[in-house]
Subunit: 418 residues, 2 copies
């Protein structure tokens, strides 16, 4: 087992153990946001027939070749073609058909004149412009042709993709499975949120923030509860998590001095690949694997801030990769530091910061007390500033990289038009 | 009813009718991503007692004031304090207590020396540094004090907020309700994805893309099905949607020439506020309200691209505002246009574009055929470029505003450290 490794090395070791999960077939109503696990090949022609792009009149362009606003062509209305019409009735020469958006162009017609360029007079239409063949006609197959691969495996399904799939007649689709994440906290001092906190007990809040982090990214949390500080109790709960895709433990189930977890993990067949990453917060992070025969194991530190920060850096990218995503990381911004920061060299610090747009720049400022026990500073943070391992000092005005946690910070102020 | 209005005016009219929805109390497991509807005031001290930030030894600093690596202080180990200990046993003068991270500082002790700076010899500890009072002690209440307002109404709940709420003993929390959105398509030509498309029938794909758009933003779709082209059928279905927060109709339930919907909406008491917005795609968009006594009504155009684009521009911001959000719009980027674009002046165009990072710039290029029937071009789009209403031409190299639809485009390539 390696120890005292860099953040980048820890991430490389983890990602080296991750494989995208297999396929699951879901109803189309569950498909949005999932990652496609099959190539979607069309068996249909879309649109299925030449059809009208506008409400108006279908005709042979030649029958109105001399038409103008001053001298409209006057043509009898042969029939009406609503959307959904089978579109088999031929248009007699020298006549028009009243037609609606999406309705099939009747055999014989080659163009559509928009309603705005016509006037109805009883059973006749005045055509005020000279159309060209093809005007306002949407061609059969202009969207999709049979045999075409419409969506590639690995596509993250948007609402438009869902619309496309249903257009092709697909009510079900194969996507990567959602990672099931077993969550375990340990420690005799922990209680659930509704528990009695007299005598120094505290709430097992990490379990609930980790479950929320899982839900946010589409993973399925399976909360194994609070294990008392006994190897047998921890083992019993961990066994309940062995069928999941990842185990995320924290607090007493970390791999520290007084923690029984390391022995239990090894007894169950988990090989620990590292313990201790040169970061702050979050040094006492451990990672192990069952060499492909069981879940990945992330033993997070017990401090509330350390648990969330190490999840963000190491667990989230792994879970996104399992779910089939190819983009694993939070958005980042280059920001201007609004105040000086100092530390000893050696560990990379993730500094909780607020972000403000000031005169075309993004300015980052610390949220205050950076103790890993102070969850409030993380609640107020919009991002994590990366203070590199070997740096001692960052000065006001320096350009820094910030991982953006608050997606509302990226939202635009207005619609982009006025 | 107004007609032919600008996109900005349409958005102003809509947002003028929107009110944030009322409160709903949800279990903490459902809270992430929701918007807080109450002020969360702490009744607790967090941490509840002075406690150790490290594994090590608690002591009186004065008892090791002359300690150094060369001449360590040698002090008896009086007892051990695990995390979860009630922390009531006083530390005798001249002794140390073995202590673990999170455990309460025993009465009498004022500091902690880290394990790395000590050595154990049986029942005694060698202390190799001279601590200062307060070293490695986390003070009771340094995170939260009773009576403090920890979270303000309007906060979008992150996983860290969920952790904080549980720490305070909260298993339930009041948040804004999720908008219920009744979805209706209309037209005799429409079938569900598993329906028979012989004879020119097509799938009611808009219903499914609109439902997916709702799910993506946290709204609750209620799909009312496909209404045949008869006023009574449309009325019956719309009545089933009157208890929702919004009705989103498309296709045959738009407000056009041959559409019965307008009369039905008005019969039900809906006042149409506009029909027709100077945009492409999406001109035939209608909006109405029941003057605060019923759902907002969005009658979207029937073309698949128009339906998604108008939802993005007008429905999404309204639903986000209903859910309590204060940031309503997709992220935007300033991009460099990679190819010339032309149009007639008068309507604002939303151009479907792909985005590429090239040499420090973001380059936007059209996804091709911009017909509003070609859903494929929207499937391939990462953003919507705003081609202003009065502009005729945008040239290669021009700076343009693009609404980003594909959140993966904003994801960072790497973790931000190396």
């Amino acid at each position: 087992m390696r120890t005292g490794i860099s953040a980048a090395e820890a991430l490389r070791i983890i990602q080296g153990e991750v494989r995208p999960l297999g396929a699951e077939t879901v109803a189309i109503s569950e498909a949005v946001g999932r990652v496609l696990c099959e190539a979607v090949v069309s068996s249909r022609l879309l649109p299925p027939a030449d059809n009208s792009a506008m409400d108006g009149y279908a005709l042979r362009a030649d029958d109105a070749r001399t038409a103008s606003a001053a001298r409209p062509a006057v043509l009898p209305i042969a029939f009406e073609v609503p959307a959904g019409d089978p579109g088999t009735r031929p248009l007699p020469a020298g006549a028009v058909a009243r037609i609606f958006t999406g309705a099939p162009i009747p055999p014989g017609a080659d163009s559509v004149v928009r309603q705005e360029d016509t006037e109805r007079q009883g059973e006749r239409a005045l055509i005020r412009i000279a159309p060209k063949p093809g005007d306002h006609v949407r061609r059969a197959g202009e969207d999709v042709r049979p045999g075409e691969c419409v969506l590639e495996p690995g596509t993250r399904l948007s609402a438009s993709h869902v619309g496309m799939l249903t257009s092709l007649g697909r009510g079900f689709v194969a996507v990567h499975q959602r990672p099931r994440v077993a969550i375990l906290s340990g420690g005799d001092e922990l209680v659930e949120p509704d528990g009695d906190v007299a005598g120094g007990r505290i709430v097992s809040s990490n379990s609930w923030s980790i479950a929320a982090l899982c839900r946010e990214l589409g993973a399925l949390p399976v909360y194994l509860g609070i294990a008392p500080d006994h190897p047998e109790a921890i083992e019993r709960r961990l066994r309940a998590g062995l069928a999941s895709d990842a185990i995320v433990s924290s607090a007493g189930v970390s791999v520290g001095d007084r923690d029984y977890a390391r022995g239990v993990f090894e007894k169950l067949g988990c090989r620990l690949l590292f313990w201790g990453v040169e970061i702050k917060p979050g040094y006492p992070l451990a990672f192990g694997s069952f060499e492909g025969r069981g879940p990945l194991v992330f033993a997070l530190p017990g401090n509330p801030v350390s648990a969330v920060v190490t999840f963000e850096q190491f667990v989230r990218p792994a879970l996104r990769r399992m779910a089939g995503h190819t983009r694993w990381f939070r958005p980042q911004v280059e920001a201007t530091l609004g105040e000086p920061l100092r530390k000893s060299p050696g560990r990379l610090h993730f500094v909780r910061v607020r972000l403000a747009r000031e005169g075309g720049r993004i300015v980052a400022r610390s949220t205050g007390n950076q103790s890993s026990g102070v969850l409030r500073s993380l609640c107020e943070a919009q991002g994590l500033l990366i203070f590199p391992a070997q740096a001692r000092e960052l000065r006001t005005g320096d350009t820094v990289t910030v991982q953006v946690l608050d997606e509302d910070f990226l939202a635009a102020d207005g619609p982009g038009f006025e």
